[in-house]
């Protein structure tokens, strides 16, 4: 069973729709027992990092997620803000600690460096895939996915970076450290490319 963490941040229904299409059982929940009894976790999220971390902490979901991933080795996929939350920290609003499951930090796109850069980065863009990433099983080298975000992730270790994208500068489109995955783009909003990726998460990760 796949659980989508329902903590009031972002469009969980479209992720549910996508899994339903794939014929996979999925539950929306913020209940610790349900999360602990699931096989896989989706951490969605749209909006403010700071606000999202506060909500997770209030419900002690941060502890439950870490326990599920680190102790019980449940696979997790963070989507958009959900990916960023898997990192160590963000400077959105003010400095805020994340779940710390991946060694990365989050910062806003720098418009002072690229004056013509539009932020948020919105729309389909091409992801250049690193060889061998199981999340991209069966894909070609370059695949289009849908992005909408103002912040992006910096990984301390290139080893975990599984996909790169260019918006003014090259940034991390996805990371994967074994069973811990994150995509900055929205697979549930990326037509058949995204559905294939969600299928891979369930079958290959």
């Amino acid at each position: 069973m796949i659980v989508i963490i329902d903590y009031g941040m972002g469009n969980i229904y479209s992720i549910k729709n996508a899994f339903n299409y794939l014929g996979l059982e999925v539950i929306l929940s913020n209940n610790p027992d349900t999360i602990l009894s699931s096989d896989r976790i989706i951490l969605p999220g749209v909006g403010s990092f700071y606000h999202a971390m506060n909500v997770l902490r209030e419900k002690s979901l941060d502890i439950i997620i870490k326990e599920s991933v680190l102790k019980y080795k449940k696979s997790i996929l963070g989507i958009c803000l959900g990916m960023q939350l898997l990192g160590k920290s963000s400077t959105e609003d003010s400095f805020c600690e994340g779940l710390g499951l991946i060694d990365c930090s989050v910062e806003r796109f720098d418009q002072s460096k690229y004056p013509d850069l539009k932020v948020p980065h919105v729309g389909f863009n091409t992801v250049h895939i690193k060889d061998g990433a199981s999340l991209y099983y069966g894909f070609e080298q370059d695949v289009d996915f849908y992005f909408t975000h103002s912040y992006r992730v910096f990984c301390e270790n290139d080893e975990y970076v599984s996909g790169l994208c260019v918006h003014g500068e090259t940034f991390v489109a996805s990371f994967q450290k074994g069973h811990i995955c994150g995509t900055q783009f929205h697979p549930e909003k990326s037509q058949s490319n995204g559905l294939q990726l969600l299928k891979n998460f369930v079958e290959k990760v």
Binding site: N11, V46, S48, L81, K118, D144, K189, Q196
Partner: protein
């Protein structure tokens, strides 16, 4: 503007879910002139969203956080606001802070007269005392994530976008700009996509009135070198089977 039908009409006559493979994003607007029924509108959004794996923006009659949340819960990813930008900018800032910039699209309806370009709200029924250039700056300063600029004059004409107005945008717009109103064929779309300041082109005309004009237009644009996303065709066929069942 012309009334054609509701969501059932759309699916019956145009197999909307098939057409959805020709677009990158869907914008659904409630343009009813009577008191807007958010719950009814959300029901329609939900029906459309269930089989669409693309981003959906929806709006019309959003006054507060609860309205926005209902629409998002129906499967939309973004909220489109227009009148609220003028009547309650504080609420707009609150929407941005709760849902994030990327979630809020500012819709701006404009009309040209001999003295300049006017901004209209309330479904184009009320003019506000702002010049459109200053209005764009003001709207960006509220923190919205995108601008959806619609020409009331050109809307529904199929004669092409409002180029004389777009040319007046000689300043930097830091957020994505979608233009709307007037596209009648694929050449209009291409002209828009080739324009530096324009990030995306919207069309209702090609969807509602021109049969399979939209899939053909997309093929044409890709052929002409426009950078549009590509997705796997074999999966597309599977998806259509899914929609039929």
């Amino acid at each position: 503007m012309q009334k054609v039908g509701d969501i059932n009409w759309l699916n019956k006559h145009y197999n909307f879910r098939k057409i959805a493979f020709s677009i990158d994003e869907l914008i659904i607007l409630n343009v009813s002139r009577v008191k807007k029924d958010i719950i009814g509108f959300c029901g329609q959004v939900k029906m459309l969203a269930e089989g669409c794996f693309i981003p959906i923006a929806a709006g019309g009659g959003v006054h507060n956080i609860d309205d926005a949340r209902s629409i998002l819960k129906s499967g939309a990813d973004k909220i489109v606001i227009n009148t609220l930008l003028y009547t309650d900018p504080t609420m707009v800032k609150e929407l941005v802070s709760v849902f994030g910039s990327q979630c809020i699209i500012a819709s701006i309806d404009i009309k040209k007269n001999k003295d300049g370009v006017e901004v209209w709200i309330e479904n184009g029924s009320q003019k506000i005392p702002k010049l459109f250039q200053e209005w764009i700056r003001a709207v960006i300063s509220l923190g919205v994530g995108e601008i959806y600029l619609n020409s009331i004059d050109k809307d529904g004409t199929g004669q092409g976008y409002f180029w004389e107005v777009i040319k007046m945008l000689d300043f930097n717009i830091e957020i994505p700009l979608i233009i709307s109103g007037g596209a009648g064929n694929q050449h209009h779309l291409l002209e828009g996509l080739k324009t530096l300041i324009v990030d995306a082109v919207a069309t209702a005309n090609l969807l509602n009135f021109v049969g399979n004009g939209l899939p053909l237009a997309r093929d044409f644009l890709i052929e002409q070198g426009a950078t549009l996303a590509k997705w796997n065709i074999s999966d597309e066929i599977n998806l259509e089977d899914y929609f039929i069942r």
